[in-house]
C-alpha cells in the first residue's frame, strides 16, 4: 500500500503546458539575436557594449526595485533582459553610456515596476524610455548616427551621418541607399539597421507561436497601403517609395517586437487588428505629415494607452450567448 501522506491533491487540470514565461522570453531573446549580430557587424564593438550595458542595467534595476518593494525576485523570467535588448535596439550606437543607464531606469523602475511589474505596464517600457531619451537628448538620439561599417577603418571610425534613410525620404535631400542596403545595412538605431534580420526573428517568433502574425501583418500592411496611396497622389514611383518606407526606421522592429508585447497589446484577434491598424495609421501620418521623420515609437505608445479600451470593446461573445443578443435586438426592433 502506498503511504497516502505522499499523495498530492490539487485542482484540475493535472497536466499543464510546458511553456513558461521564462521560455517565452528566451524565445524573444533568440529572435532578437540575428538583429544584434547585424548591428555588431555594422557598428562594431560599441553596439555590443551598448546592448550589454542596457541589459545589465535593466536586470539590475529589476532586481533592486523588487528588493526595495519586498516582492519576489523576478529577474529569472528574463523579461528585464528582453526589455534591455529592445531598449538598446532603440538607441544609436554612438549614445553615451550614462544615457543608456538612464533609459534602463525609466524602463524598468518607472514604467514597469512602479505599475506592478510584468504584465501590468500600460505602455511598452523600452519605447517610453526611448521617447524620454529622445525628448531629453535630441542631439544624441536623433542627429548622430554612426555610418555603417565605418568602425572597421580607423580613419573613419568616428564618422557620423545625420541623415537616416527616413530623413532623406522625407526631405528629398541626399541620395538614398540602394534597396539592397536598406534591407541589410543602413544607418539608424542598433536594432533597426538590418531589415532581413528582423524579419528572420519575427518569423521565428511566429513559428514558435510566441506572437500571432495578426499585429505585424496589419501594422506593416497599413503602413504599406498608406505609403502607396501617398505615393500615387504624389505621382512618384509609388511602389519603390512604399517599399523604402517599409524597410526604413523602426517599423519592422516595432511591428514584430514592440507592438506585439503581451502586456500592452489587445487579447482578442479583433482587438489586435484594430490596435495594429491604429499603429500603422499613426506611424504613416507622423512620417508623412509630422515634424519628425519617425513615428513608430509614438504610434505604438499612443495605441498602448488605448489598449484597455480596445480590450473592453472587443470582448468576444461567450459561446451560446450570441443568440440572446440577437433576440434582444429583434425584440427592440419589434417594440
Amino acid at each position: 500500500m502506498v503511504d497516502d501522506r505522499l499523495l498530492t491533491a490539487s485542482a484540475s487540470p493535472h497536466v499543464r503546458t510546458r511553456d513558461t514565461t521564462r521560455g517565452i522570453m528566451l524565445d524573444v531573446l533568440i529572435a532578437l539575436l540575428p538583429a544584434l549580430i547585424a548591428s555588431v557587424v555594422l557598428f562594431g564593438f560599441r553596439a555590443l557594449a551598448v546592448t550589454a550595458v542596457s541589459v545589465g542595467c535593466c536586470v539590475l534595476f529589476e532586481f533592486l526595485s523588487r528588493k526595495a518593494m519586498r516582492r519576489p525576485n523576478t529577474i529569472g523570467d528574463l523579461s528585464a533582459a528582453v526589455t534591455g535588448v529592445i531598449l538598446a535596439f532603440n538607441l544609436p550606437a554612438s549614445i553615451p553610456f550614462w544615457m543608456v543607464v538612464f533609459g534602463a531606469l525609466i524602463s524598468i523602475v518607472v514604467v514597469k515596476q512602479m505599475f506592478g511589474g510584468i504584465g501590468q505596464n500600460f505602455v511598452n517600457p523600452a519605447l517610453l524610455a526611448r521617447i524620454v531619451l529622445m525628448v531629453s537628448f535630441p542631439k544624441a538620439m536623433l542627429a548622430s548616427w554612426p555610418t555603417p561599417f565605418a568602425w572597421k577603418d580607423a580613419s573613419t571610425a568616428d564618422a557620423i551621418t545625420s541623415a537616416t534613410p527616413l530623413a532623406i525620404l522625407k526631405s528629398g535631400d541626399g541620395t538614398l541607399p540602394s534597396l539592397f542596403n536598406m534591407c541589410f545595412a543602413k544607418a539608424g538605431c542598433l536594432g533597426e539597421v538590418c531589415a532581413a534580420a528582423l524579419v528572420l526573428g519575427g518569423l521565428y517568433l511566429m513559428i514558435r507561436r510566441v506572437i500571432s502574425p495578426v499585429i505585424p501583418l496589419c501594422f506593416i500592411g497599413t503602413v504599406g497601403v498608406c505609403m502607396l496611396l501617398y505615393g500615387f497622389t504624389k505621382g512618384e514611383n509609388a511602389w519603390t517609395f512604399a517599399l523604402y518606407e517599409l524597410v526604413s526606421g523602426g517599423l519592422l522592429l516595432g511591428a514584430f517586437f514592440m507592438a506585439t508585447d503581451y502586456a500592452t497589446s489587445p487579447i482578442s484577434i479583433k482587438g489586435k487588428i484594430i490596435f495594429a491598424i491604429g499603429c500603422g495609421l499613426i506611424t504613416s501620418l507622423i512620417r508623412l505629415f509630422g515634424n519628425m521623420n519617425e513615428g513608430v515609437s509614438f504610434s505604438i505608445v499612443l495605441m498602448n494607452i488605448l489598449v484597455p479600451h480596445i480590450d473592453r470593446l472587443t470582448v468576444p461573445k461567450p459561446f451560446g450567448m450570441e443568440k440572446v443578443k440577437k433576440e434582444k435586438k429583434a425584440e427592440v426592433k419589434a417594440s
Binding site: 523576478t74 504584465g119 461567450p318
Partner: protein, 448 residues
C-alpha cells in the same frame, strides 16, 4: 441516404479554441480485462448528479449482484445496486474523490457473485415503460458527468431530431470508450436502435475523434450493415482537439447548432449520450442486469502494467491498482477520471464510482507548476472553447462585481481546464472560474 450514408462524415461546426494535449492513448489496443471480484466493496449512495439515494438494506442483510440497495423518490437521481454478492457489513459514510462525504453501503463478498433472482429483461412497450426501465437500471452518463440517463431521455416527444453518440474521448490516457466501440460495437448499435426507435429520433451521429481509426472503422462497417435496413445512422470523425467531447462542443461539431447559455441540448433538438452508456443500455434491455460494473483505463507513469479493466462499482482504487501490478515507482498524484477534469485523490481506499472512467497514477511532479504573474499573453482566451477570457474574469473576481461576472459569461464555463493548461504562468484559472461561479450563486442566494 442509402449507400452514401455509410461513409464517414466530417464535422459540421468547427470548434474555436481548445488545446492540443498529448493523447497518451497507451492502452488503445489493450482489451478490457474483467478483474476478479474483490472481497469487499464500498458503494456510495451518491454516484450521480442530483439527489443522493438512501440505503434500503441493513447491516447483516444478504445481498446479491444487481439487487437494489439504495433508492430515492427524487426524480433527478438513479438507484444503486449491489455489485457483488455477500453480506452487508456496514451502512455508514465514505469520502469521495471530490471531498464530498456521502452515505455508503459496505458489502463483504461471499465469493459467489450470485445474480439477484429478481433480474429479468424489462418489459418495454411504451415510452413511459422505457424511461422507468432506464431509471431502474441505475444508468448514469458513463463518460464522467454522471447525469441520470432516464432524466436525459425524458425530453418532450418530438423535440429531438438528432442523437449524438459521444465517442470522442478527448481526455488524454483514457481508452475505454475506444475499446467499447471496438469490442462491443453490436451493443452500441443495438443501444442506438433502441433509443432511436422508442424515442422517435430520426437521425443518429456517432462522433469519434480522428485518433481512433480502428473504432471508426469497426463502427462504420457495422453502421453500414444496419444501414441497409434502417438508415440514418452515420459515423462522424472529429478533429482530435480537447475538449471535443464536451456536450455543447460535441453538438456544435456534429450538427453546427449552438446550445444557448443556460439551455439544454434538447432545446436545439439534440440528445448526446456517451457510447458506453448506449452499449450498457442495450445490455440492460437484453438481460435486465443493472449497472453494477464498469470499464476503466488504469494508466500513468507510476502504474506497473497499464491496462483497461472491468471492475465492480465500489471496488477500491488501491485494489484495482494492485491488480495492475501495483506501483512501479512512488506515486506522487493519483487521479480518478482524466488528467484535464479528473479529481486527485488523497488515499487509495476511495471506491470506484459509476461515472469514473480512469484511474491514473503519476510518479513525477510534472503537474504542479509554480504560479507567477499573469503576463497578459491571452493564451487562456485563445484556448477557451466557450470564447471566455479567463484572465479578464480573474480580474473581475478581484473587483467582486457579480453583474459583470454574469455578463462575461462565467456560467458558460464548463471547467474543461483548457485555459489553465495553456497558461505559461501556471495560474489557477479553473479554480478562479469556480470561485466566480460560487460568487454568482452566493449573490443569487442573498437576493432570494
Amino acid at each position: 441516404m442509402g449507400i452514401s450514408g455509410a461513409k464517414v462524415l466530417s464535422a459540421v461546426g468547427k470548434v474555436r479554441g481548445g488545446v492540443h494535449v498529448l493523447h497518451q492513448k497507451n492502452t488503445a489496443d489493450q482489451e478490457i480485462v474483467r478483474l476478479p471480484a474483490p472481497n469487499k466493496v464500498v458503494i456510495p449512495m451518491q454516484m450521480h448528479i442530483g439527489a443522493p439515494c438512501a440505503p434500503i438494506v441493513n447491516v447483516g442483510d444478504t445481498v446479491s449482484v444487481g439487487q437494489c440497495i439504495g433508492d430515492t423518490t427524487a426524480f433527478v437521481s438513479a438507484p444503486i445496486h449491489a455489485s457483488i454478492s455477500g453480506t452487508v457489513t456496514a451502512v455508514g459514510e465514505t469520502t469521495l474523490a471530490n471531498g464530498a462525504v456521502t452515505r455508503a453501503v459496505t458489502i463483504e463478498s461471499d465469493g459467489e457473485m450470485r445474480l439477484f433472482e429478481g433480474i429479468e429483461p424489462p418489459k418495454i412497450d411504451t415510452r413511459e415503460e422505457f424511461l422507468a426501465a432506464v431509471r431502474a437500471s441505475g444508468l448514469v452518463g458513463l463518460g464522467g458527468a454522471g447525469f441520470p440517463t432516464h432524466v436525459k431521455l425524458a425530453f418532450k416527444p418530438g423535440t429531438v431530431d438528432t442523437l449524438v453518440v459521444n465517442a470522442a474521448e478527448c481526455e488524454p490516457f483514457i481508452t475505454v470508450d475506444n475499446r467499447e466501440c471496438i469490442e462491443n460495437s453490436w451493443d452500441v448499435l443495438s443501444g442506438i436502435q433502441i433509443v432511436k426507435e422508442i424515442l422517435q429520433i430520426p437521425r443518429v451521429v456517432i462522433a469519434v475523434e480522428r485518433n481512433k481509426p480502428k473504432a471508426i472503422e469497426v463502427l462504420s462497417s457495422i453502421a453500414r450493415q444496419v444501414e441497409k435496413e434502417k438508415g440514418e445512422i452515420a459515423v462522424m470523425q472529429l478533429r482530435s482537439i480537447y475538449p471535443q467531447g464536451a456536450e455543447k462542443i460535441m453538438i456544435y461539431s456534429a450538427t453546427g447548432r449552438r446550445v444557448p447559455a443556460g439551455k439544454l441540448p434538447s432545446d436545439v433538438g439534440c440528445l448526446v449520450m456517451n457510447v458506453a452508456s448506449v452499449a450498457m443500455l442495450a445490455r440492460y434491455v437484453k438481460s435486465g442486469k443493472p449497472l453494477v460494473s464498469r470499464s476503466l483505463t488504469v494508466d500513468g507513469s507510476a502504474i506497473c502494467v497499464p491496462q483497461n479493466v472491468r471492475v465492480p462499482i465500489g471496488m477500491s482504487v488501491g485494489e484495482i491498482i494492485d491488480h495492475c501490478g501495483g506501483f512501479k515507482s512512488t506515486p506522487y498524484k493519483i487521479i480518478t477520471g482524466g488528467p484535464m477534469m479528473g479529481f486527485s485523490i488523497i488515499n487509495t481506499d476511495i471506491p470506484v464510482l459509476k461515472q469514473n472512467n480512469a484511474i491514473l497514477a503519476f510518479s513525477k511532479q510534472d503537474s504542479l507548476k509554480k504560479e507567477t504573474d499573469c503576463i497578459n499573453c491571452g493564451r487562456c482566451a485563445a484556448a477557451c472553447p466557450m470564447h471566455l477570457q479567463a484572465n479578464r474574469i480573474a480580474r473581475i473576481v478581484k473587483t467582486g462585481d457579480v453583474e459583470e461576472l454574469i455578463r462575461a459569461g462565467t456560467n458558460v464555463c464548463m471547467e474543461c481546464g483548457s485555459c489553465a493548461f495553456s497558461c505559461p504562468a501556471g495560474r489557477p484559472l479553473v479554480q478562479n472560474m469556480r470561485l466566480a461561479k460560487s460568487m454568482i450563486r452566493e449573490a443569487a442566494k442573498a437576493n432570494g
